[in-house]
């Protein structure tokens, strides 16, 4: 072998040598946090210290909120055949409820209707809508509409319904008229839907066509003259609720209501919850930064925070009664084995 040969050999060898880098040698600098007693106690205390005040703050916010719930489905139907009553279109369904305000309510007061046992989250229901159709009047693909809005896509003679689908078709149609101390109060129904829904999802050039003209009449009707983007009740309704019990915003009363004021509500009790054993309620509520009256989150925060403080103390006790020096070699398995061995 000539010298040059062995040289090239050597270079070939060294060329195969992996290049050193901290990454490939798995020597990247790393922080290795350790659960020392201090950190454990500190962590639990910290959670406790942060959580308890948050809990208390939200509890107090929740306490300030005045919420009036009035279930009216039972009382507003006097007939024994409730289903027959509600399905009868000729009967006058007005119903007057009187609510006394226990605490002063500062405006705006939010008006909700609350339905129970109504499965807006049922898959058959959720699927039955056409977002494209709602957004643009140019969308006229009958096949796709029929497919996505099944089973409420067309009228009996086959013409498309706008807005189609079960959700729109079952639109909630009870109405409320308020008066405080016999004085009529305006309900502000503007801005009850998300702005983005109004601006983007429901077209300003889409008008109801053939709505509620199918074989069956579901819920409420729509004003044919108004574009969908201005029909906020529909927009709110079409944001399906996650649970079978839900509230939806109906409107707002902008003025304050004093304590012991009497609110009179004239309800047009149109919506059929009687078939499926659901309930209806009218809710008046003020709101704070936390939203509506929500004691649960406050309690949960206080509970978790409390548990953590308790745990922090528990670990303090544990470290006192069963102290272990960090890195005490006597806890290594071989030392423990040895101890056992000698006995």
């Amino acid at each position: 072998m000539s010298v040059s040969g062995s040289e090239s050999e050597a270079s070939r060898r060294s060329s195969k040598k992996p290049k050193y880098s901290k990454f490939t040698q798995q020597e990247l600098p790393a922080c290795k946090p350790l659960l020392t007693p201090g950190i454990v106690i500190g962590a639990f205390s910290l959670i406790g210290i942060v959580f308890v005040p948050i809990g208390l703050a939200s509890l107090s916010a929740s306490q300030e909120i005045v919420e009036l719930v009035d279930r009216y489905d039972e009382e507003c139907v006097t007939a024994s055949d409730k289903i027959g009553f509600i399905q009868d279109t000729k009967v006058n369904k007005a119903c007057t409820r009187k609510i006394t305000v226990p605490k002063p309510m500062k405006g705006p007061i939010h008006i909700y209707y609350q339905l129970e046992n109504f499965y807006q989250n049922h898959r058959r229901y959720v699927k039955s809508r056409s977002d494209q159709q709602l957004r643009s009047k140019d969308y006229k693909d009958p096949k796709a509409v029929i497919k996505s809005c099944d089973p409420e896509a067309t009228t009996g003679d086959g013409s498309l319904i706008v807005p189609c689908g079960l959700i729109a078709w079952s639109l909630f149609n009870d109405t409320y008229a308020f008066s405080v101390n016999k004085k009529e109060v305006q309900v502000n129904k503007k801005n009850i839907a998300w702005a983005s829904d109004k601006n983007s999802k429901f077209g300003s050039d889409v008008f109801p066509i053939n709505f509620q003209k199918g074989g069956l009449i579901g819920g409420g009707n729509l004003n044919d003259k108004l574009p969908l983007s201005e029909q906020e009740d529909l927009i709110v309704w079409m944001r399906t609720a996650a649970l079978p019990t839900f509230r939806k915003l109906y409107g707002r009363i902008e003025s304050d209501i004093m304590a012991s004021d009497e609110i009179t509500v004239v309800i047009q009790n149109n919506y059929n919850t009687y078939s499926f054993g659901g309930t209806k309620a009218l809710v008046l509520s003020t709101a704070s930064w936390i939203g509506g009256k929500n004691n649960f989150i406050g309690i949960a925060y206080v509970a978790v925070g409390g548990i953590c403080l308790f745990l922090a103390m528990g670990f303090v006790v544990l470290y006192v009664i069963k102290p272990r020096t960090l890195g005490d070699p006597s806890y290594l398995s071989w030392n423990k084995e040895d101890a056992g061995y000698s006995h």
Binding site: K17, L28, L34, Q114, D131, A242, F276, S285
Partner: protein, 1222 residues
Amino acid sequence: MARARKRDRLRWSKLYTFSCFRHPHTDEGGGGGGGPSAASGSPVGGPGFSRVVHCNNSILHRRKPLKYPTNYISTTKYNVLTFLPKAIFEQFRRVANLYFLLTAILSLTPVCPFSPVSMIAPLAFVVGLSMIKEALEDWRRFMQDMKVNNRKVSVHKGDGEFGFRHWEDLCVGDVVRVEKDQFFPADLLLLSSSYEDGICYVETMNLDGETNLKLKRSLEVTLPLEEDETYKDFRGVIRCEDPNPSLYTFIGNLEYERQIYSIDPFQILLRDSKLRNTAFIYGVVIFTGHDSKVMQNSTESPSKRSRIEKKMDLVIYILFTVLVLISLISSIGFAVRIKLDLPRWWYLQPEKSNKLDDPTRPALSGIFHLITALILYGYLIPISLYVSIEVVKVAQAHFINQDLHMFDEETGNTAQARTSNLNEELGQVHTILSDKTGTLTCNQMDFLKCSIAGVSYGVRASEVERAAAKQMASGAADDQDISLEDVWENTEDEIQLLEGVNFSAGNTPKTSIKGFSFEDNRLMQGNWTKEPNSNMVLLFFRILALCHTAIPEVNEETGALTYEAESPDEGAFLVAAREFGFEFSKRTQSSIFIKEKYTSSNGTIEREFKILNLLEFNSKRKRMTVILKDEDDRIFLLCKGADTIIFDRLAKNGRLYEPDTTKHLNEYGEAGLRTLALSYRMLEESEYASWNAEFLQAKTSIGPDRELQLERVADLIERELILVGATAVEDKLQTGVPQCIDRLAQAGLKIWVLTGDKMETAINIGYACSLLRQGMKRISLSTTAGDQVAQDAQKAAKESLMLQIANGSQMVKLEKDPDAAFALIIDGKALTFALEDDMKHMFLNLATECASVICCRVSPRQKALVTRLVKEGLGKTTLAIGDGANDVGMIQEADIGVGISGVEGMQAVMASDFSISQFRFLERLLVVHGHWCYKRIAQMICYFFYKNITFGLTIFYFEAFAGFSGQSVYDDWFMLLFNVVLTSLPVISLGVFEQDVSAEICLQFPALYQQGPNNLFFDWYRILGWMGNGLYSSLAIFFLNICIFYDQAIRSGGQTADMASVGTTMFSCIIWAVNIQIALTMSHFTWIQHVFVWGSIGTWYVFIIAYGMALKSRDNYQIMLEVLGPAPLYWAATLLVTAACNIPYLIHISYQRSCNPLDHHVIQEIKYLRKDVEDETMWKRERSKARQRTKIGFTARVDAKIKQIKGRLHKKSPSLTIHTVA
């Protein structure tokens, strides 16, 4: 060139007696023209023997009907056309993938709760990634094939002209010329060689792992074809067997010049074996490419799966059961609701129902819903688990490949993880089965010591002695109060020192002669003439220089001589003789020339010794003899062989030095050296003549007993010998082998050595690498059955073996001393019986009781069988390590096969799962990489289960609130991205980068390795714990969110939450909870983990904002910016749920660490507090304790010695020198 080699032309057939005999047919007439054989009775031409080869007429073989495959080989699984169908088929053979495929297909039907793309995209991603990996691996294989296919070989191109051609273009019938040290490109029929009588040497290392050279010889009739020109008109027809995998048989005949000659395996040169010691050969191609025997032999290596993966499958099955169960619950619930409630739910228009939800046929709808539910809850079975594991393993393999600590400067090879799916198995090894030659030893012999005329020469200590002496020095220095720790510290430094610098070079800078490490001034530089027995010394040197079968090779540039010897021992002897002044310079047909140089001052004398006979070495005779005549016409018989054989044959007056020599032989053996005894005999002319006549008769005899005859005659003359002395050769251990074995033993690994060597050699090596030591109780199992084939002899042998095993077990059982160590040594024949069904468990039980097990003289097949016995008998992970083709079986059989690369032959490496270039790298591979990979994969899989249970169950709970209708609360895209993007990188970083302790500590505390074999991180307790954690988290996430968002307004604006906002909040909580969880699980944060974990959370927000802006038609339009972002309740819920999910785990790990810390916890703390720097004695003490109690290895040896010394100190006066102990 051919002419320059003429000097090589020796007729070996005249010298050799045994291996070189001719086939009976062609041996007639003692080397004249071989007689043609009758083809009658031979099966050639019959079924299975249809091949016809037209020699030197390959044109005929390029067309039908004689078209045979070309010499192109391909070991790839796929080709361009078959890749797609085949690879896809492979992918969907996995049950999990099939399940996902089914769901993807079903997603195209209305049954599916999601959009089809969200089902198909992840599947395509996962399958695509795996297929890319397959394609890359196959590409690598293709490149390797191309390398082989493009090798060049000299081929006859017509008119006596030879030219180079690629291997792949070689055709059946081509005549090729192969030069020295080249591989044969195909299976060839040997026509002629550079030797006059047509012999050649072949190294078959790649085929059977044997390192000694094999002799092949051509037919007599083709001998004249020894020049390029002679092939001008060469024609011949070979009729032979069809391609088959049998390496040692060949049936066929050659039709040449209208005669038929039969061909036997002696004329066949197999592909992938190598031409050695022969300048060139001519051969004609018989089998090409995949027809060749070696290719026919190649078996597809079995695909192995790690224990963790097998257990993971079990867990997957459990999850499947859970999945089916909740789907059933869900579909029953659905059916019930449909039957009872749906008719009343007017808002769903029940009267317009289709078959999917038909109140009149609830059972049918229920069944359809079952499919929907199975798809919906499919998130319990993580589709991405498989792909993540694959990605992680590739990365881990990359780290193994790139590890500089496993890079061998000498060969330039890195460690290679050839199959990445066994990385974590490396951390669970229980038993190592190791080959010896080439694995533990370098197969390089160094002449180290000798005993001549009862005087031992050679002051240099063997590696074993040196190491032991050093340890003793450190141990004894501490006289009375020997503390183990200090000894350990010293040995530790020693080992580090040894590992750091080249072992032998560091100690003796002047030695540079390969094969010669002898050092003793009494013999060197001609000083031996002053020795009292100088004539014996002279004889000793002459035996070394004369009694061999080697050929000298002159380097044409430097004039230096190198020797082509059949075995490395012989080479070492010749080098030694040369160094002593007896240079073997030339071999001719009848003579050996030696240049003798008595003293450094006077010149050299060349002496010629006429060789009369050469009785060569074989494993049965265990000796070799030359009979020669010196210049004074005296006839000598020189014999070297195994000591027992020689001692049996000594004359009465030849036993003068026997007692001393025996003593020395024992010393050498204990020092780990290979020994041979040398002897001679003077023959009278007449005595020789009469014997030679008999010998010639035996040599020319025909028939099956020819060999026996020869042996008998040879035995007649090899008697009445006079003992001269003994040699001791060091079979050099590879660097760091004893240290590595020691460490592996301390890590709790069992080591078995399986070797093809004879028992004595194996035992020597056992001593050399500290698997055996003095004071160990040896249980040797062997049978005396010999070659008897008789039934009853077999039975008797078996019974005696049974008894031996029973005795051995009894002995182990009755042993009271807890420190007593046993060694089991079993030889191949006994092993045949021991591996039979009725005995193997007895044998295994005994073997597991013993500290070391050495199996000698085992065949490759037995190696595999032993491996299987250990694997199946113990049910533990086995690792087989070897370098040769004979280890392939064992490597494939073991749970993990490791091949040693860098030595010749790639078979072992090709069959292996991991390849390293030095045995000592095994320590790092197991203790560092194995340990890490095991923990990483185990934690990763557990976390995966947790994560998917957490996510999957929330979907189920929501179902219950949605009338079991199959509605998901999450957007399709969330579900899609959950596994693929939002939680995949952190878990991959856990699997790739997690380190509980650093590599350095892994090595310092070998006991940590035991966490793997004990399966501390993937036991059912852990798995169920994690699953329970997942269950808890899912409950917490779902119900806390439901309660928070029940019916109230979520913002001061008074708006209530719809399904999209509840879903998004819940999903945010999940993302936070699982990512915080993984952050708590990790103990090692590099910037990568930080980026991945926190980045995943960030990505979620980036995604939801981007998604909210992009898709106007969805409910999620602007959900983060407009609805949830400004709502304090959303953030409060996220914080609360995240904390609630992780507090129990935090409690668990805090409690565990404070009350039951695991070893790595304590070590982490020591490191964290820098106690190892402050309290060095503690650190050292713990390091020494963190070793399994071993009975083998250096440490055990030192312990035993110390005990011995202590014992003596108590009894006797403390006047003790190290020498007596060493």
